[in-house]
Amino acid sequence: MSSVTTKTREPEASFSATSLAKLRHKPWYKSDAFRRLVMCVLLGVLFTIMTGEQAGDDVFYSLNDSLTNWPWLGTWVAVAVGIWALITFHSYLLGNPALSPVHKVIKDATAEVKKVTPVLGRREVKWPLIIALVVVLALLPTWVSGFWNQVMVNEIAVYVLLAIGLNVVVGWAGLLDLGFIAFFAIGAYSAAYWTGKLPVSPPVELTPFLVIPVAVLTCLVAGVLLGAPTLRLRGDYLAIVTLGFHEIIYLLATNADEFTNGPAGVQGVPHPTLDLGFWSYEWTTTDLEQYWWMIMVIAGILIFLFLRLEHSKVGRAWTAIREDEVAAAANGVNTVKYKLMAFAIGASTSGIAGVVMASKVQFVSPASFELMFSVLVLAYVIFGGMGSIWGVMLGTAFLAWLPQILKDYVDEQDRHMYLGAILVIMMIFRPQGLIPSRRRKRELNLAKEGLGDADAMTEPVGGRVS
């Protein structure tokens, strides 16, 4: 439209009472109630498809089957319409949503919770509670089946460690990292290398516990190496670079067969042993609780260390960088140093998780480090509530548990479909995550009022400078 005509201008926009009334009040087909109805019906149809038959050879099979399966389709649509009716009449009948009993229940509940929270925060309540929680967690493996024990260690605890690490990078320093699993891989391969299982042999062979500091160091260096050249990048640019870094590490593990044994992976990474001279202990394949306790201890130490960071000089500097990098630098914050620190801390945590995983599974291959897992950890962290250690732990535990429990209820192949749907729904209704950190919540509130960005990651590239 950069061309300009010389014709006379349009007649002055005229408006009448009726046209204005139309503008002020939406027509019925634009009304919320109607839109909700359409949405509900569509959801009903969608749900029919979701619960329908798996298609095979014939691309039309499932489509035909679910859309002509009238009783099933009808049921779901009816349920959807029913829900719609409930919602709509509920608010219509009462006129004022504040009168609704549901509303009242929610309000009362939140009021109760609000009353309880400060009590929980009190020292004499808080510590017993935490201790009780730790005891329950510690006893958990002795109550559940072997399957859940495995899940708790391999799928939940390891990823909780990862999430604690990624939280430092994303939640605190505000660096969007889509390649976090690369460090996990480095950790795991370090374990394989230093225990002499890779095709290339190490100068000395170490036991898994001794590998941990080495892996931490390796990942620290890797984190800095990744961080250093990318520090000028912001938000999404950083995201794609970290993603690229992940792919490069993953493909190196796959392609550099001489060093990593390629896709076949390496086997026989030993279980950890603990030898204190007077007392020694060896982890085994069958003693599942031992791994759980080991990870609890590791996580405990990390939480103990990281919690201090959040409310210290370092945590504040991260927040400052996240919110406004130029202003932070102008006030003397060495942004490079703090960003690298975040990368390094996150990467080392990930490395520890890698060592643990390698010695638990005793097998390392690229298949454990696919890009999807990087995406998933990020989802776990945000789902739980960035910046809040408790939140990310809970979020990770929940999302890692979910596919396992879904195994019992839906077709195993469809689990990711449900996982995806849950992610979307959750983000619609609780975008701040399960337990958001206080600072993040404030940022979110500010964003709601249009003052800045909720995650402070949209700083224009190059930064504002005035």
Binding site: E53, S145, V151, G268, M357, F363, A367
Partner: protein, 374 residues
């Protein structure tokens, strides 16, 4: 999760028969999910048919456990089966990586695992102590050397281009083929064309320009098919051979005319010649509304092998350990081949058969050793 149809096929005999479960572990989601699904379906079909026959002294159920083809998900998938006291034997794991991760657990539980498709040679190394693992398929060594033999002895090629797909399966196969080709004095060039390559045109050009007079593709049909198309477009006409990962009707469906003249090997006898296999194919299609795929029949066989051994218990209670021991010693003639294991659980015997695609059909040529000798 358990298959809904199981109840439909429950035995008419009634209540007091014991119920046993046969497990399946494989990747039902994630990369190559279709292969896991093929196998799971084979097992399901075997169990459904066994129940339907009504001559079992027990009732059978199936329990699948998805390991997402990922080693670190494998242990919990295995544990799910181990925990279930009803599970007396397992078909699977499907992939070698997860097999390596979970076998110690199965060994500790003395739960027999009969894998229809984990072909990595090192799995049966005694040092692993994978004492509950029985391999129901010749390992990569055999297929790889079969291909090499055919090229060397029958076609008498000078230079062979060996392509793997960077999957565990592909590189295993390629490594063996490479060794055997070199042993036969053939010059070997290698390339890797990973799974999911976005465009095979460049790869086809590489083949065309390689100057090789024969090609081996160690990979699956999903990638082999588009590759074959591009090879045809590029006008490559040297002999091309691929393994059981490609030996599937889907290969032809996907590649169309480009599949013509490809040689395909398989440790499996021709799935279309015999009556029994035809019936299997029809039943499978009827139940899952897709044709039986790679390893469906092998899984079906292994499940039936387990069932056969279970029958030998008669009214006796079946324990995992006892069943494992019986299976170790057993021999079973299935649709695809005969199954028998050595003391390490390695597949015994195993001729490799050669096929060729002709006019849109996979045609059976014969035992590769015999063909090469001729």
């Amino acid at each position: 999760s358990d298959d809904k149809d199981d109840d439909a096929s429950s035995n008419p005999g009634g209540g007091n028969k014991p119920t046993y479960t046969i497990g399946f572990q494989g990747g039902l989601t994630g990369k190559n999910a279709q292969l896991g699904i093929n196998e799971a379906n084979g097992v399901k079909l075997a169990i459904e048919q066994a129940n339907a026959k009504g001559d079992l002294p027990f009732k059978l159920e199936v329990k699948t456990s998805d390991d997402e083809a990922s080693p670190d998900k494998s242990q919990s998938a295995a544990q799910k089966l181990i925990d279930d006291g009803n599970v007396v034997a397992v078909v699977g794991p499907a992939f070698s990586g997860p097999t390596k991760a979970a076998s110690p657990n199965y060994a500790a539980a003395k739960l027999a695992t009969l894998t229809p498709s984990a072909t990595n040679p090192s799995l049966t190394a005694p040092a692993n102590k994978f004492t509950a693992l029985l391999r129901g398929t010749p390992n990569d060594n055999m297929q790889g050397s079969g291909m090499a033999t055919y090229y060397a002895k029958k076609l008498k090629l000078k230079t062979v281009l060996l392509i793997d797909d960077k999957s565990e399966y592909g590189i295993g196969l390629a490594a063996v083929a490479k060794a055997d080709l070199e042993k036969a004095g053939i010059t070997v060039k290698t390339e890797s064309i990973p799974q999911g390559t976005p465009d095979y045109t460049a790869a086809a050009t590489t083949v065309k320009n390689s100057g090789a007079d024969g090609m081996i593709y160690a990979g699956y049909y999903q990638d082999g098919a588009p590759f074959a198309k591009k090879l045809k477009e590029a006008g490559v006409s040297i002999p091309m051979i691929s393994g059981d990962g490609t030996n599937d009707p889907e290969f032809i469906k996907l590649a169309g005319a480009a599949a013509d003249n490809w040689y395909l090997t398989c440790p499996c006898a021709d799935a279309n010649v015999e009556e029994a296999t035809k019936k299997f194919a029809a039943d499978y299609k009827a139940k899952f509304n897709e044709p039986a795929g790679t390893y469906s029949a092998e899984s079906f066989d292994l499940a039936n092998m387990i069932i056969e051994q279970m029958k030998t218990f008669g009214a006796e209670k079946i324990t995992r350990e006892a069943l494992l021991n019986k299976l170790k010693a057993a021999e079973y003639k299935g649709l695809t081949k005969s199954f028998k294991f050595d003391q390490n659980g390695e597949y015994v015997g195993g001729a490799i058969f050669l096929y060729q695609v002709k006019a849109g059909k996979i045609e059976y040529l014969g035992d590769i050793d015999k063909l090469s000798a001729a």
